[in-house]
C-alpha cells in the first residue's frame, strides 16, 4: 500500500481521534476546571450558610447600622461609642489614608535622598546610605513598628517631663504635641489663594515648556511657581489681617495643655512605614538613575550643557520613566503595610474591622469590605500606572 504524501490530510478527514485536537482538548480541560470550581464554590457556600445558621449570625450588611459601642483612639471625623459600625469603618479608612499619605511623603523624601546618596562619589555618604538600605530592607516592617512603639516611644518620659522640640513641639510617652492652627474668619481666602496659585502654576509651567519648545528660551519657571504657590497665600494672609493663629501646647506642672496631640500609635506606624519603605525607594531611585546610560550625560556635556542643567533636563526625565512604575507599587505596599496598625492598636481599617468582627462575628462581610477597599485602591493605582506608562513610554522609530 502506498501513501500519497502530496495530499495533506483534509479537515473533513480527521487522521486520529478527536481527542488529539488541541482545541477540543483545551475546551475539555477548561470544562473540567470550571466544573470543579463551581462544585467547590457550591460546597463552600452551603457549608458557610449552614455554619452561619448554626451560630445564629444573620448575613448581610445590615449590621453596619448597629451601635458600635467602642471608642477609637484617634479619629479625623467625630466619633463616639454611640456611632454606627459603618461610621467606625469610615473612621478606620480615613486613618489608613492619613498614615499612608503622610508616610508616602516622608518615605519619598528619605528614599530619594538615600538613593542619590548611594550614587554619590563621596565615599562616606555612599557607605552610610548603603548601610541604611541594607539594614532596613532586611528587617520585617512589623519589627520596625515595635522598635518605635515599645522600644523608643514607650520609654520616653511622662507628660510632665515632656521633651521640648523646636517649633513649640513636645514629645512624651503619650505622643507628640504640636501647635494647632486656629482658623478665624477670612482664613478661607488663604485656601482659595493656594488653590488659585497651584492652578496658575500648572498653566504657567505648560506655557513655559511650550514656549521653550517653540523658541528655545527658558522662562523662570521655578521662581514664578514658588511665588504663586507660596507668595500668593502669604500675601492673602497679610491682606486678610492674619486670620490664622496657633494654639501652642504649654508645659504645665503635670501635663501639657493646648495644642494638638498625635498618639504614639500613629507616630510609630508613620515612622516605621517611612523608614522601611524609604529603603526600597532608595534602591528604585538608584536603579533609575543608573538606568540612564552614561552616553546621555556625555552627549549633553559635549553640547555644552552645564552639569546642573544636564541633571534636570537629560537625566531626571529619563530616570523618572524608569522610577515611577516601581515607585507606585512601593506606595501601594506602604498602604497595604499600614494594616500592621492592628498590632499596636492604631485604628486603621483592618484594626476597626477586626474589632467589629470580634463583636458581631460578621466575618464574611468584614473581610469582603477589606478586600473591596484594598482592591479598589490597588486597581486604581495600577490603572494610573498603565496610563502613565503609556504616556511616558519611549516612542521608538
Amino acid at each position: 500500500m502506498t501513501i500519497d504524501a502530496t495530499i495533506p490530510p483534509g479537515k473533513d478527514k480527521p487522521t486520529g481521534s478527536i481527542l488529539n485536537d488541541p482545541k477540543v482538548r483545551g475546551w475539555i480541560y477548561q470544562g473540567i476546571t470550571l466544573l470543579l470550581l463551581v462544585l467547590f464554590v457550591y460546597w463552600v457556600t452551603t457549608n458557610t450558610i449552614e455554619n452561619l445558621k448554626r451560630a445564629n449570625i444573620a448575613s448581610g450588611y445590615g449590621f453596619l447600622n448597629g451601635r458600635a459601642g467602642f471608642d477609637v483612639g484617634q479619629s479625623l471625623i467625630a466619633f463616639t461609642s454611640d456611632s454606627t459600625y459603618g461610621r467606625a469603618l469610615v473612621v478606620g479608612f480615613l486613618n489608613t489614608i492619613l498614615v499612608a499619605v503622610t508616610g508616602i511623603i516622608t518615605a519619598t523624601i528619605i528614599g530619594f535622598l538615600v538613593g542619590i546618596g548611594r550614587l554619590s562619589k563621596n565615599w562616606l555618604i555612599a557607605k552610610l546610605s548603603m548601610v541604611y538600605v541594607e539594614v532596613f530592607r532586611n528587617i520585617p516592617p512589623l519589627l520596625v513598628i515595635f522598635f518605635w512603639y515599645s522600644g523608643v516611644l514607650a520609654v520616653l518620659p511622662q507628660p510632665r517631663d515632656s521633651l521640648a522640640l523646636p517649633l513649640d513641639m513636645y514629645i512624651n510617652n503619650r505622643g507628640l504635641a504640636f501647635p494647632r492652627p486656629v482658623f478665624d474668619a477670612g482664613s478661607q481666602f488663604i485656601f482659595y489663594a493656594l488653590v488659585i496659585g497651584i492652578i496658575a502654576s500648572i498653566f504657567f509651567a505648560r506655557y513655559a515648556s511650550k514656549k521653550q519648545m517653540e523658541t528655545g528660551k527658558r522662562l523662570p519657571v521655578l521662581w514664578t511657581v514658588l511665588g504663586l504657590v507660596i507668595g500668593l497665600p502669604v500675601l492673602t494672609y497679610l491682606l486678610a489681617g492674619m486670620p490664622i493663629s496657633f494654639d501652642v501646647p504649654i508645659a504645665g506642672k503635670f501635663n501639657l495643655t493646648g495644642g494638638s496631640v498625635v498618639g504614639p500609635e500613629f507616630l510609630s506606624l508613620f515612622l516605621a512605614l517611612s523608614f522601611y519603605t524609604a529603603a526600597f525607594i532608595a534602591e528604585i531611585v538608584r536603579a533609575g538613575i543608573r538606568g540612564v546610560s552614561h552616553g546621555q550625560t556625555e552627549a549633553a556635556h559635549a553640547l555644552g550643557v552645564r552639569p546642573g542643567l544636564t541633571t534636570r533636563l537629560v537625566v531626571v526625565p529619563q530616570a523618572m520613566r524608569i522610577i515611577i512604575p516601581p515607585l507606585t507599587s512601593q506606595y501601594l505596599n506602604l498602604t497595604k503595610n499600614s494594616s500592621l496598625a492592628i498590632a499596636i492598636g492604631y485604628a486603621d481599617l483592618v484594626a476597626v474591622g477586626g474589632t467589629i468582627l470580634n463583636q458581631t462575628g460578621q466575618a464574611v462581610e468584614i473581610v469582603s469590605i477589606w478586600i473591596i477597599v484594598y482592591l479598589t485602591l490597588s486597581l486604581s493605582t495600577s490603572l494610573f500606572m498603565n496610563w502613565f506608562n503609556a504616556k511616558m513610554a519611549l516612542v521608538e522609530r
Binding site: G26, Y29, Q30, T33, L34, L37, V44, N47, T48, E50, N51, L52, R54, S120, K121, N122, W123, L124, I125, L128, E134, V135, R137, N138, I139, P140, P141, L142, L143, F146, F147, S150, G151, V152, A154, V155, K336, N337, S339, L340, I342, A343, V350, G354, L357, A363, V364, V367, W370, I371, Y374, L375, L377, S378, L379
Partner: protein
C-alpha cells in the same frame, strides 16, 4: 658614514622619584573620595558629625553599658526602678536574651523534647549546605532528601505521637522554629504553585487564564494580614461541621497562598522575557506543552528571575512575623510575649529583645540576598546584552 653627536643622550637610567604625595596613599584617597569638591567637604563633615552623634551612644548602649549576665530584672534596672544599676543607666539587657534564648528558639516546646526540633534543625542545615554549594554533586538526591524526605520526617518528629514520641500540639510550638517552618513550607509550596499560576495566566485557554488572573490580582491587592484573618476566621466557616483545621496549618495555608501569587508575577516576568523563537523552536521539534515548558522555557525563565524569586523569599521570611498578630508565637511573637515577664520587665528589655530579633531576621535575609547575588553571577552564561 655620518655619525651623530650623542653626548646629550643619557646612557644611565634616572632613579625613580617618589610619586607626588597628593596622588598616592591615604592623602590621595581622602582627597579623591571625601574632599573632592567644597560640596563634598561639607557633606563629609555633616556625615562625620552625624556618625559622632549617633555611633558612640549606640556602641555604649549595645556593648559597654550592656548587662551581660544576671538572673533577673535587677541587673537591667536602675535603683529607682528596683534594680542594682546606678541612676541614669541605660544599656542593652543581654542577660534577658541569654536567659530566654531557648524560648526564642523553640517557644513553649516541652524542655525534655527539645532535642527533636534541634535534630530537625541539624538535619536541615546538613542538607541545605551541600544544596547551596555548587561544587558538591548529587543535587537531585539532595533535593529529594531536602524537599520530600525531610518535611515528612520533620512532621513526625516535631508533632510526635508515633514511635513512642510524646505528642506535642502546635500551640506549644514557637520561636525561630515556627518562623523557619513557616518560611520553608511557604517557599517550598509557593515556587511550584507560582509557576503553575504564571503558566495559567499566560495560557491560551480563556477560562484557566481568567481564574489565575483573578486569583493573583486579588491576593496581590490585599494586605497579608487580611489573608491571614481570612485563613484564621473564614476557613472554619467554609468547612463542614466537625472538620477543623489546625491553627498552625491555617497560617501555613494563608502564607503559602499569599507568596504563590507574588511568585507567579515574578515567574511571569521571566516567561515574558523569553523570546518567542524559543517556544517556536520547541514546537518545531515536536515537543509537547509540558516538555516545552520543562526543558526549554522554564529553565531560562527561572534563571532570569532568580533575584526576583529570592526577593520574594526574603519578603515571605519577613512576612511570617505577621502571624504573631493572629496569636501565634513566632520569633517576634515570643520575644514580645516575654516583655511582660515580671522577672525581666524593665525599660530596656523591649528594645534589647527587639534588637536581638531584628538582628536574627537581618542575618537570614541578608544571607539570602548575598547568596542570590552569588548564584546570579555563577549562572550568568554571558547571554546578557
Amino acid at each position: 658614514m655620518n655619525t651623530h653627536q650623542t653626548n646629550f643622550v643619557r646612557t644611565s637610567m634616572l632613579a625613580q622619584s617618589a610619586p607626588p604625595v597628593l596622588e598616592k596613599g591615604y592623602v590621595a584617597w581622602f582627597r579623591k573620595n571625601l574632599f573632592a569638591t567644597p560640596k563634598d567637604t561639607v557633606l563629609t563633615i555633616i556625615a562625620i558629625l552625624l556618625l559622632a552623634w549617633f555611633l558612640p551612644p549606640m556602641i555604649k548602649w549595645l556593648f559597654i553599658d550592656a548587662s551581660w549576665t544576671g538572673g533577673g530584672r535587677g541587673v537591667c534596672a536602675t535603683v529607682a526602678q528596683g534594680g542594682s544599676q546606678p541612676e541614669g543607666w541605660s544599656g542593652a539587657c543581654w542577660a534577658f536574651v541569654g536567659a530566654k534564648f531557648d524560648q526564642f528558639l523553640f517557644g513553649r516546646y516541652p524542655i525534655d523534647e527539645r532535642w527533636r526540633p534541634a535534630l530537625v534543625g541539624i538535619l536541615f542545615v546538613a542538607l541545605l549546605v551541600p544544596m547551596l554549594i555548587p561544587k558538591i554533586p548529587h543535587k537531585g538526591l539532595n533535593a529529594i532528601l531536602l524537599f520530600a524526605v525531610l518535611p515528612i520526617l520533620s512532621f513526625f518528629l516535631l508533632l510526635g505521637g508515633v514511635l513512642g514520641l510524646p505528642y506535642v500540639e502546635t500551640p506549644l510550638w514557637g520561636g525561630l522554629m515556627v518562623t523557619l517552618i513557616l518560611s520553608f513550607v511557604g517557599i517550598a509550596v509557593s515556587l511550584p504553585f507560582g509557576i503553575i499560576l504564571a503558566l495559567g495566566r499566560r495560557s491560551k485557554m480563556p477560562v484557566i487564564r481568567m481564574i489565575c488572573t483573578i486569583f493573583i490580582e486579588i491576593v496581590r491587592g490585599i494586605p497579608l494580614i487580611t489573608v491571614l484573618f481570612m485563613a484564621s476566621v473564614m476557613l472554619p466557616l467554609f468547612l463542614p461541621q466537625g472538620m477543623t483545621v489546625d491553627k498552625f496549618l491555617r497560617a501555613l495555608i494563608g502564607v503559602s497562598f499569599f507568596a504563590s501569587a507574588y511568585m507567579a508575577e515574578v515567574v511571569r516576568g521571566g516567561l515574558q522575557a523569553i523570546p518567542k523563537g524559543q517556544a517556536e523552536g520547541a514546537d518545531s521539534l515536536g515537543l509537547g506543552y509540558w516538555q516545552k515548558m520543562r526543558l526549554i522555557i522554564l529553565p531560562q525563565a527561572l534563571k532570569l528571575v532568580i533575584p526576583g524569586i529570592v526577593n520574594t523569599f526574603i519578603g515571605l521570611f519577613k512576612d511570617t512575623s505577621l502571624v504573631s498578630i493572629i496569636g501565634m508565637f513566632d520569633l517576634l511573637g515570643i520575644v514580645r510575649q516575654n516583655f511582660s515577664d515580671a522577672n525581666w520587665a524593665s525599660p530596656v528589655t523591649p528594645l534589647s529583645g527587639l534588637v536581638f530579633a531584628g538582628f536574627t531576621f537581618w542575618l537570614f535575609c541578608f544571607g539570602m540576598s548575598r547568596y542570590s547575588g552569588f548564584m546570579e553571577r555563577k549562572l550568568d552564561k554571558g547571554h546578557k546584552r
